[in-house]
C-alpha cells in the first residue's frame, strides 16, 4: 500500500490517503477502517431517474463518494473489501443519507478520516491504528516473500497462500481415493487422478502459465511447499516431475521452487508444522509469520511446563498486567488483531489501552498477531489474548468461574 498523503494530527484525528497495490492491502484496509470512520473513495453507482412522463432510465455513473462507515465485509479468499455506510457528501446523483457500499479497488486511492471525537464515538488514530498503518505501508518494498503451501493427504489437499499478514485458504481439493484392496484395486489410479486435479488447481490458483509461447518464462515463481504425512507430498512432487518431463515442459520452471516438507495431516491445522520445518525456514527466513509462529510456540511451551509464567484469557491477562507481570525483562503481550476489529468502540478502546499500557508504562513487548495467520488462529483459540509473564502469577480459580 502506498501512502499518498498523511495528515494525522496529534490529537489523533486526521486523514490519510492510501493506494492499495496488492490484494493483501485489502486486509490492511480492513484492519484500518472502523465503523464511524469517514471514507472517501471512487464508486460506481447506478442512478435511476424518473422522467416527468413516469418512464425511468438508469445509468451508471462514476462518483467520488464520502461515506460514514457502518459496517465492513471482508472476503479473504478473493481479497475484496466492501464498506457500507451512509453518504455524507452531496453529488448531483445522490442525496445525503443514502446508503452506499463502496468496493475498494486496487490502484485507486481512498481517503480515510478518523475523528478523535468524544469518548464513546470514534477512536481516532490510536497507537494500534498507527501501527497498522505502518504495517500496511510497505516502506522498504521488501514484503515480497510469499509462499504457496499445499497441505495434503490421500484424497485431500488444501492450497494456501501464505502472505506476510495472511494465510489464505485458496482452495480445497477433496476426492475419494480408493484404498488399497486385496488384489490391486484402483488405488494408484485414484492417486494419479488426485494429483492431476491438485496440480491443475494449484496452477490455476498460482496463475502459472504453462504455455511455452508466452513471454512469462522469466517471471519469478513463488516457493511451493508441499506438505503431507507419509509419502503423498513426495508422490506429488514426483508427479510434477513426470508431467514436466512428458506433457508440460513449462512445469520445469516450477520444479526448483518446490519443497517437500512433513506435516501431520492434510488439514490447515498442520500449517504451523509446515512453517516451522527447517526447509521452510530457510526460504522464508525472518518473515513476520515465522516470528509469530515461534512466539506462539514459546508461549505454549511455557504453558505446558506449567510454570505459571504464561497465561491467556482477557481477565487473566488484565490481572497479570495489573500485577506488573507483563513488564520489562521478558513480558510479552500477545494479542490478536481480531480484538481491535471489534464493532464495539468500547471494546477496542479497552484493548488499545491495555496495549499502550504494557508498551509505554510497563515496558513490556507487544505483539499483534494477524488473526488470518495460523499462529493468530491458535491465539484465537486461546480467546485472542495471552501473555508471557516475567514472574509466575498464581491465578485464583474464582476469576475464571465468573466468566461462565
Amino acid at each position: 500500500m502506498r501512502l499518498i498523503k498523511n495528515r494525522i494530527e496529534h490529537d489523533g484525528s486526521g486523514t490519510v490517503t492510501l493506494c492499495p497495490e496488492e490484494p493483501e492491502d485489502m486486509w490492511h484496509a480492513y484492519n484500518l477502517i472502523r465503523p464511524s470512520d469517514v471514507l472517501r473513495a471512487s464508486a460506481i453507482r447506478r442512478v435511476t431517474t424518473v422522467q416527468d412522463t413516469g418512464s425511468t432510465s438508469s445509468a451508471r455513473v462514476h462518483l467520488n463518494l464520502v461515506i460514514r462507515v457502518k459496517s465492513l465485509d471482508f472476503d479473504p479468499q478473493s481479497s475484496q473489501l466492501h464498506v457500507s455506510g451512509q453518504i455524507i457528501n452531496e453529488t448531483p446523483h445522490t442525496k445525503i443519507g443514502q446508503f452506499h457500499t463502496l468496493d475498494l479497488e486496487l490502484n485507486r486511492n481512498f481517503t480515510l478520516e478518523k475523528d478523535a471525537g468524544a469518548d464513546d464515538e470514534g477512536t481516532g488514530w490510536d497507537s494500534i491504528a498507527v501501527e497498522a498503518l505502518k504495517d500496511a505501508v510497505d516502506e522498504g518494498g521488501k514484503r515480497r516473500a510469499e509462499a504457496v503451501a499445499v497441505v495434503m493427504q490421500e484424497g485431500l489437499a488444501h492450497i494456501c497462500f501464505i502472505g506476510q499478514f495472511q494465510t489464505i485458504l485458496k482452495q480445497k481439493v477433496e476426492m475419494s481415493v480408493p484404498r488399497k484392496r486385496h488384489g490391486g484395486g484402483d488405488h494408484d489410479k485414484g492417486m494419479n487422478k488426485f494429483f492431476k486435479v491438485t496440480l491443475e488447481t494449484l496452477l490455476r490458483q498460482m496463475e502459472f502459465n504453462i504455455s511455452l509461447t508466452s513471454g512469462s518464462a522469466n517471471e519469478p515463481v513463488r516457493p511451493v511447499l508441499l506438505a503431507s504425512p507419509g509419502f503423498v507430498a513426495a508422490g506429488f512432487q514426483k508427479y510434477i516431475q513426470t508431467e514436466a518431463s512428458t506433457t508440460t515442459p513449462a512445469l520445469k520452471r516450477l520444479l526448483p521452487s518446490v519443497v517437500v516438507v512433513h506435516s501431520a495431516s492434510g488439514y490447515t491445522n498442520s500449517l504451523s508444522e509446515v512453517l516451522q520445518s527447517p526447509a521452510v525456514k530457510n526460504i522464508l527466513a525472518d518473515t513476520k509469520y515465522a516470528r509469530e509462529t515461534k512466539l506462539m510456540d514459546d508461549f505454549l511451551e511455557q504453558l505446558r511446563k506449567e510454570t505459571n509464567k504464561a497465561t491467556y484469557g482477557p481477565r487473566e491477562v488484565e490481572s497479570a498486567v495489573d500485577q506488573g507481570a507483563v513488564g520489562r525483562g521478558g513480558g510479552v503481550l500477545i494479542i490478536s488483531n481480531r480484538l481491535f476489529r471489534s464493532q464495539n468502540v468500547g471494546e477496542r478502546k479497552r484493548w488499545v489501552a491495555l496495549v499502550d499500557r504494557v508498551r509505554d508504562v510497563e515496558g513490556g513487548e507487544v505483539r499483534v498477531l494477524s488473526s488470518d495467520h495460523e499462529s493468530g488462529k491458535r491465539l484465537d483459540g486461546l480467546s485472542g489474548i495471552a501473555a508471557l509473564l516475567t514472574f509466575p502469577v498464581i491465578e485464583e480459580d474464582l476469576d475464571s468461574d465468573e466468566d461462565e
Partner: protein, 802 residues
C-alpha cells in the same frame, strides 16, 4: 353411455375403467332399456363415493325426467341422497334387499366366497366398492365378437363381449344370481370363518371343472394367468413378473386366506397353499382385466365365464369384502414389480402392509419414471437368519506395533501357515521382492499390496485378510506402524475385537519402539475399547531366543499395559519369529527356543471369546472405503457393521450427505450373502447414489434411525499430552476431521469422575478431563462413541463422547 364395470372408488383414475357398453344401440325392448338404466344408475350410485342407494322407483322416476340419461340421473340422485345416506350408513347395512331388478335372481351370490381364492380382494372397508354383475335378462344384440389382439377395444366389441357373456350365463342350467345386494355387501367386513366350508366345495368343484376349462388350474398366480387367455397385450406387461405378482398378491390378504402368513418372508411357503386353489373366477378376471387395460375387455374371458359362473351359481349371497388393496392396486403393483420395483426395506415387513402397498401404488409411478436401479429385497428376518446360520465364531483382530516390528511379515507367515495364501503366490512375491532387493519383505507383501508400500517396504494403509482355524474364522487387520499413518491404524483398530501387539525384540529396536508407536498404539487400542491383547515378541531368532531378554520385555510391557488399563489375565506373551515362522502355527524347532512351552500364537488367538455386537440396534456402519467393485458393481463401499443388520435391497442413508442409496448386493468376508449383521466386515454394492456423496468416514444408517450430525460435542477424555484450547484432529474409525478444543470444562477425578478443577487453563498428561470440541463441518457422531484427538502428529487425548 353407461358404466358397467366395477369401479374402485379409491382409485384416482377410475375413468379408465369405465366401460363403454353401448346400451344406446337400438334395442326394441324399451322396458328393458329402462330396466338396464335403472341398474346402471343404482350401480353408479353405489359405486360412487360415498355409496348411496335409491329405490328402483325413485331411479326410474328420475330416469324418466332425465330422458334416460344415466349420468344426470346419477348426479341428481346422488345429490339428493348423499346426506341422507351418510347418516344412514351404519344402519343401511342392515337394510335388506337391494331391489333385485331381475326376476330369476333367487340364488345368492357370495362375493367373498366367490373370490376367496383371489386374495387381493380383501379390500379394507374404507375402499370398499360394490360388485355389480350384469343383469341376467336376455337382451338382443350381437353375441360373440372376435378375441382382441390387443389395444383398445371398440365399443361394439365390448358390447358384444358383454352380451356373449350374459348369454352364457343365461344358458347355464343353474340360475345364476349375480345381483349382490348392497346391504349385504356392506354387512360383513371380515369374512367369517365358516365361509371355509362352502368355499372348499367350490374349490373342489372348480378343480373338477378345470378339466373342462381351457386352462389347467395352477392357480398360484392368479393375476398372471388371468391375463393369459385373451389379453395378449396385458400379459406382455404382466408376464415378466410371475413370482412378483405372486408374492405381492397373497401378501395382501391375510384375513381371507386363513393359511396366509402375515409376513412376506416366505413366498415359497405360499406356493403350495395357493396351488390347491382353483383358477380365478371369471369375475376376477373381468375385474382385473378391466382394471389393467382400461376401457376394453377380453372377450375370451367371457366365453370362459360360462362354465365358471354356472358352477359358482350357488346360494352364497355373502357380502363381498375388500380388505386388501383393490384389484387395480394389485395389478398395478404387479406391473410395477415387473418393471422392477424394489419392495420396501424390512421396516415395513410386519408393518401396515395395506398402507405400505397403497403408498407404493401411489409412489411407484414416480419411481419408475426416474428409471432407478431397483433391487428386490428378499425381506428376510436377518436376525432370525443369523441365529439359524451355523457359522464358526468369528473374531477380528488388529495387528499393532512400532514401525518395522514385523507386523506384516508375521501376518503373512500366519496366512501362509494357515493356507490362506497359496505357495505359488508366495513364491511369486518372493521372486519379485528379491528382484528389488527386499527379499525379507516377501511375506509382508501378502498384506502390503500397494505399489508404494512394496517399493518403500512399509505398510501405509490397513489391510484386511482372513483365515480360518478349526474353531474360528479370523479377520486380520494389519495396521501400519509408521507414525504418519496412525490415522489408518485408528481406522483398523476400530474394527477389531482384540489386538496383537508385535514387538521387535532385537537390541535397540525394542527400546526405540517403546518410545515410539508401541505405546501409542497400545494406548489407542485400549482407549478404543479393546480388552484383550496378545503380545507377540517378534524376531526372537535375531537374539538367539534369549530367554532373559524375553522376560525383560515381558516384564516391561506387562507393567506398561496394566497401567494402560489392560487386565492382567487379558495379556499374554508369545515369543516368536515371523520371518522363520517359529511359534506361529508350529512350535519352534530351534533348540534355543526349547524353554518356551506355552501356546503358539495361533493357539493364543483361538482362546479369544466370541464378541457380541449390538445386532438389534439401529444400523450403523462407518464407511472404510469407496471404490469401484467392477463392471457389475460400479460403486461399492466397505466397512464393518458397528451395529444393526442389513440385507440386500435395503434402502440406506449415508450421513452427513443425507443421501439415500439402495443396497444392490452384500458381500460378507468377500462371500456373497443376502444379509449382514453387526460385527461382520462387509462390502456393499450400492445403486441409486452418486459417488460424490460417499466418503470414507461417512456413516451408513437407516432413514428411520439416522445418526445425528453435529458440529460440536463434549467428551470425557484421557489426556496423553497437554490439552489446552487448541487445534486437534478428531478421529473415529475412518472418520478424520479437523476441529479444535474450544473449552476445557473441567479436570476430572479418574475414578469417581468428579470435577477436580473447573475451567482449567491446561490439562496435563494422564489427567481425565471434560472438553468441548468444535468442528468446522458437521460430522456424524453420536454418544456413546470413542474418539481420538490428535495434534501435530501425536495422539493428545482419547475418550468417550458424552
Amino acid at each position: 353411455m353407461s358404466r358397467h364395470r366395477i369401479k374402485d372408488v379409491s382409485f384416482d383414475d377410475d375413468d379408465l375403467y369405465d366401460e363403454d357398453d353401448g346400451y344406446d344401440s337400438p334395442d326394441p325392448a324399451e322396458q328393458e332399456f329402462v330396466q338396464q338404466c335403472t341398474t346402471d344408475v343404482l350401480q353408479q350410485l353405489r359405486a360412487g363415493n360415498p355409496p348411496v342407494t335409491a329405490t328402483k322407483e325413485e331411479v326410474q322416476e328420475s330416469l324418466w325426467h332425465y330422458y334416460n340419461d344415466v349420468p344426470k340421473t346419477v348426479n341428481y340422485l346422488r345429490g339428493k341422497k348423499e346426506k341422507e345416506i351418510k347418516k344412514q350408513q351404519p344402519t343401511a347395512k342392515a337394510v335388506p334387499a337391494y331391489p333385485a331388478p331381475y326376476p330369476p335372481s333367487t340364488a345368492h351370490f357370495s362375493a367373498a366366497d366367490f373370490f376367496r381364492d383371489c386374495p387381493w380382494l380383501n379390500v379394507p372397508p374404507h375402499r370398499k366398492a360394490d360388485i355389480l354383475v350384469e343383469p341376467l335378462c336376455p337382451r338382443l344384440g350381437l353375441l360373440g365378437g372376435a378375441p382382441e389382439s390387443g389395444g383398445k377395444v371398440s365399443k361394439l366389441a365390448a358390447l358384444a363381449a358383454a352380451r356373449k357373456k350374459k348369454e352364457g350365463e343365461k344358458s347355464g342350467s343353474t340360475p345364476v344370481a349375480m345381483a349382490p345386494s348392497t346391504p349385504q355387501l356392506e354387512k360383513t367386513e371380515v369374512p367369517s370363518p365358516e365361509l371355509r366350508g362352502p368355499s372348499l366345495s367350490i374349490r373342489d368343484r372348480l378343480a373338477a371343472n378345470n378339466a373342462k376349462s381351457p386352462r389347467p388350474a395352477e392357480g398360484n398366480d392368479s393375476l398372471q394367468r388371468l391375463s393369459k387367455p385373451g389379453l395378449s397385450t396385458s400379459s406382455s406387461a404382466r408376464k415378466p413378473s410371475p413370482e412378483k405378482s405372486q408374492s405381492a398378491a397373497p401378501s395382501m390378504s391375510p384375513p381371507v386366506q386363513g393359511t396366509e402368513v402375515p409376513s412376506e418372508e416366505e413366498p415359497e411357503e405360499q406356493k403350495p397353499k395357493i396351488d390347491i386353489r382353483a383358477s380365478p373366477s371369471t369375475f376376477a378376471s373381468t375385474i382385473v382385466g378391466a382394471t389393467t387395460i382400461p376401457a376394453h375387455e377380453p372377450s375370451h374371458l367371457h366365453s370362459n365365464s360360462v362354465d365358471l359362473l354356472r358352477i359358482y351359481g350357488q346360494n352364497h349371497a355373502e357380502p363381498f369384502d375388500f380388505a386388501g388393496p383393490s384389484p387395480d392396486d394389485v395389478v398395478l403393483n404387479a406391473q410395477n414389480t415387473a418393471k422392477g420395483f424394489k419392495s420396501k426395506p424390512s421396516a415395513s415387513k410386519n408393518g401396515d402392509k395395506k398402507k405400505a402397498q397403497g403408498e407404493l401404488a401411489g409412489g411407484l409411478s414416480n419411481l419408475s419414471v426416474e428409471e432407478k436401479v431397483t433391487v428386490k429385497s428378499k425381506n428376510l428376518d436377518v436376525l432370525e437368519e443369523y441365529k439359524k446360520s451355523t457359522r464358526k465364531k468369528s473374531a477380528n483382530f488388529v495387528v499393532i506395533g512400532h514401525v518395522d516390528a514385523g507386523k506384516s511379515t508375521l501376518m503373512g507367515r500366519l496366512l501362509a501357515d494357515q493356507k490362506a495364501i497359496d505357495q505359488r503366490t508366495l513364491d511369486k512375491y518372493r521372486r519379485e521382492a528379491e528382484k528389488i532387493g527386499k527379499g525379507s519383505f516377501a511375506l509382508a507383501w501378502v498384506l502390503d499390496q500397494g505399489s508404494e508400500e512394496r517399493a518403500r517396504g512399509v505398510t501405509i494403509d490397513i489391510a484386511t485378510n482372513k483365515f480360518e482355524t478349526d474353531s474360528t474364522a479370523f479377520t486380520i487387520v494389519d495396521a501400519p506402524g509408521h507414525r504418519d499413518f496412525v490415522p489408518n491404524m485408528i481406522a483398523g483398530a476400530s474394527q477389531a475385537d482384540f489386538a496383537v501387539l508385535v514387538i521387535d525384540s532385537s537390541v535397540g529396536k525394542f527400546e526405540s519402539g517403546l518410545k515410539g508407536q508401541t505405546k501409542e498404539h497400545a494406548l489407542l487400542v485400549r482407549s478404543m475399547g479393546v480388552q484383550k491383547i496378545v503380545v507377540a515378541v517378534n524376531k526372537m531368532d535375531t537374539i538367539q531366543w534369549d530367554k532373559g531378554r524375553f522376560e525383560e520385555i515381558e516384564q516391561q510391557i506387562s507393567s506398561f499395559l496394566t497401567t494402560a488399563g489392560f487386565q492382567a489375565q487379558n495379556i499374554s506373551f508369545v515369543p516368536c519369529s515371523g520371518f522363520q515362522g517359529d511359534n506361529i502355527s508350529q512350535r519352534s524347532k530351534d533348540p534355543h527356543a526349547s524353554w518356551y512351552t506355552g501356546p503358539t500364537l495361533i493357539e493364543e488367538l483361538e482362546t479369544s471369546e466370541p464378541y457380541t455386537h449390538g445386532l438389534d440396534k439401529p444400523l450403523r456402519m462407518t464407511i472404510g472405503d469407496v471404490f469401484r467393485g467392477g463392471v457389475q458393481n460400479p460403486l461399492s463401499i466397505s466397512g464393518r457393521l458397528d451395529a444393526g443388520s442389513l440385507q440386500m435391497g435395503d434402502q440406506i442413508l449415508t450421513m452427513p450427505s443425507g443421501e439415500t442409496a439402495t443396497i444392490r448386493s452384500v458381500e460378507v468376508d468377500s462371500e456373497p450373502s443376502d444379509w449382514a449383521v453387526a460385527g461382520q466386515n462387509v462390502v456393499l454394492n450400492l445403486a441409486n447414489i452418486d459417488p460424490i456423496h460417499l466418503r470414507s468416514g461417512d456413516v451408513v444408517c437407516r432413514a428411520s434411525a439416522p445418526i445425528p450430525t453435529i458440529t460440536s460435542f463434549t467428551a470425557k477424555v484421557l489426556a496423553f499430552e497437554h490439552l489446552m484450547p487448541m487445534m486437534v484432529d478428531v478421529h473415529r474409525g475412518r472418520l478424520h476431521v479437523p476441529g479444535r478444543i474450544s473449552k476445557l470444562v473441567a479436570a476430572l477425578d479418574k475414578s469417581s469422575g468428579a470435577a477436580l478443577k473447573k475451567r482449567p487453563k491446561i490439562v496435563g498428561p494422564g489427567t481425565v478431563a471434560r472438553v468441548v470440541v468444535e468442528m468446522d463441518q458437521a460430522v456424524p457422531l453420536e454418544a456413546p462413541t470413542r474418539i481420538v484427538l490428535r495434534a501435530g502428529g501425536s495422539t493428545v487425548a482419547a475418550g468417550l463422547l458424552e
